[in-house]
């Protein structure tokens, strides 16, 4: 009896130790994940915030040697490019995800589509730029916002498709049966019940894809090309924040370096704000107790 008590006390001490050990490891891992993000953000604020002023958001770039000037052209251009990219990547990606999860399960075509999406995800972004250059820019004989948007849109498709598939697969089977059992046609059940149930996850996938392409430079080099003036025309070259940051950062001028830092800060803040906005809009009206 006494020895049993003794051993249970040792056990208890060991459990205490193991428990706290696990907590320390988990907290440490969390810090390791968050630290780089915080470090980058603080560095950007430190180096970029001082160059941020009203002119940055309202003026186009000033000629070399002149002070001031801003990135209005790039901010507008990024918005246009991401609009085109999302208009293309989100619907195609979601439709492909629905096919993979709901209609093509186990078929040869769906395996092929899934494999293609995974390979597409791994294609270097510069290659995407060259492909779109060959497909759209060369035949049209002009760089254009449309070509840039298409390059980014194609890059969004695999992420959106695969996350949509995963999220739809997580919807419990009995929910689908409930809809079919009510005499709802299958397509209707997929759109109004399964997709709707999985929507928060699907939107997260879209935002991930959006945030990823928002920072892409390489696919835009041969497609959107850049433009020192504010433009919203789809058939004209257009500026983008990452593109302008790239050009400014490589330049020999201190003023441009400062603007590049400020541009990076603005790019990150814009991405965070747009992701947060979409979240806010799409989670409005969620019911009490909904899961």
């Amino acid at each position: 009896m006494a020895s049993q008590l003794q051993s249970s006390r040792i056990n208890r001490r060991w459990r205490w130790f193991a428990n706290h050990m696990a907590t320390v490891l988990a907290v440490g891992a969390t810090i390791a994940v968050i630290a780089p993000l915080v470090a980058i953000f603080l560095d950007l604020v430190y180096k970029g915030a001082s160059s941020l002023n009203w002119n940055f958001f309202t003026k186009t770039p000033a000629p070399v040697g002149e002070m001031g000037g801003g990135m209005l052209n790039a901010i507008v251009g990024s918005a246009v490019l991401l609009g085109v990219a999302s208009a293309m990547g989100v619907p195609v990606g979601i439709a492909a995800g629905i096919y993979l999860s709901e209609f093509g399960r186990g078929t040869k075509l769906s395996n092929l589509v899934r494999f293609t999406a995974d390979v597409l995800n791994g294609v270097p972004s510069i290659v995407m730029g060259i492909s779109v250059y060959a497909l759209i820019v060369a035949p049209e004989k002009t760089f254009s916002a449309f070509a840039g948007g298409v390059a980014l849109g194609i890059m969004m498709i695999p992420t959106v498709a695969r996350t949509t598939e995963e999220m739809l697969l997580m919807v419990p089977h009995p929910i689908r049966e409930a809809a079919l059992g009510l005499g709802v046609p299958n397509w209707r059940s997929v759109l109004s019940i399964t997709l709707k149930t999985a929507l928060p996850g699907v939107i997260t996938g879209c935002m991930l894809a959006f945030a990823r392409v928002a920072g892409e430079t390489a696919p835009l080099l041969f497609t959107a090309f850049g433009n020192p003036f504010v433009s919203t025309a789809l058939n004209q070259p257009i500026e983008a924040l990452p593109l302008q940051i790239y050009v400014y950062a490589l330049s020999p001028y201190d003023e441009w370096h400062r603007l590049a830092w400020a541009g990076s800060l603005v790019l990150i803040v814009l991405i965070v704000v747009s992701v947060a906005l979409v979240r806010l809009v799409t989670t409005r009206g969620v019911l009490k107790g909904a899961s």
Partner: protein, 252 residues
Amino acid sequence: MGVGIEVNLLNAWYGANHTLEDITLHIPANEATALIGPSGCGKSTFVRCLNRMHETNPIAKVTGEVKVGGVDIYSETSAVEVRRRIGMVFQRPNPFPTMSIYDNVASGLRLNGFRVRRVLDEVVERSLKHAALWEEVKDDLKKKSGASLSGGQQQRLCIARALAVDPEVLLMDEPASALDPVSTAKIEDLIFELKSQYTIVIVTHNMQQAARVAERTGFFLNGKLIEFDSTHKIFTNPSDKRTEDYITGRFG
């Protein structure tokens, strides 16, 4: 009003697995019919053949004839049409989690394109009253998700959802097996009420439940219908030795 169901030489397969063999029976209108038998005997597959849910599984196959109110559901109509006329309540409550209580009940009509507000309000209230849930939820109809209710309430919500499309037959696949005794009693009371207006087929593991709610009982074993008779006869004087062994608890 309910309609009768005539089943002739029904056979069903999952892949190479022959789960139902030559089932022939007649389920009368406006009665509750219970199907009992050990796990894996085919009774769930049988009810899923009655509203063509069986075929939603890609490896499933079915042959034979099922006539509901005189219409052969496999040759004379579509699966969607069949399921509109034959409601189903599943083993585990499965309300749509993103929908309010109101929207859950209205879903069958709405998803089929019906949107007249005033009529929907009426149907929702009537169905919830029918399912004995109205008093408990009438203040939170549009505020709470269907998934926020208790298990027993969720199951009654699913019954209300099935009733809202005004079916002629209600299939219940072990509707109380995931519920506590109080909720089970409520569901059984409900079956008693509902059979004046609907034909009810209930699969159950619980023989007392079959004896309490059903006029007729069928005993399934290894994919075959061993005996089908009045519940009284099955439980007091079964004609087949295997039925007697099962209900006296000698196996299964």
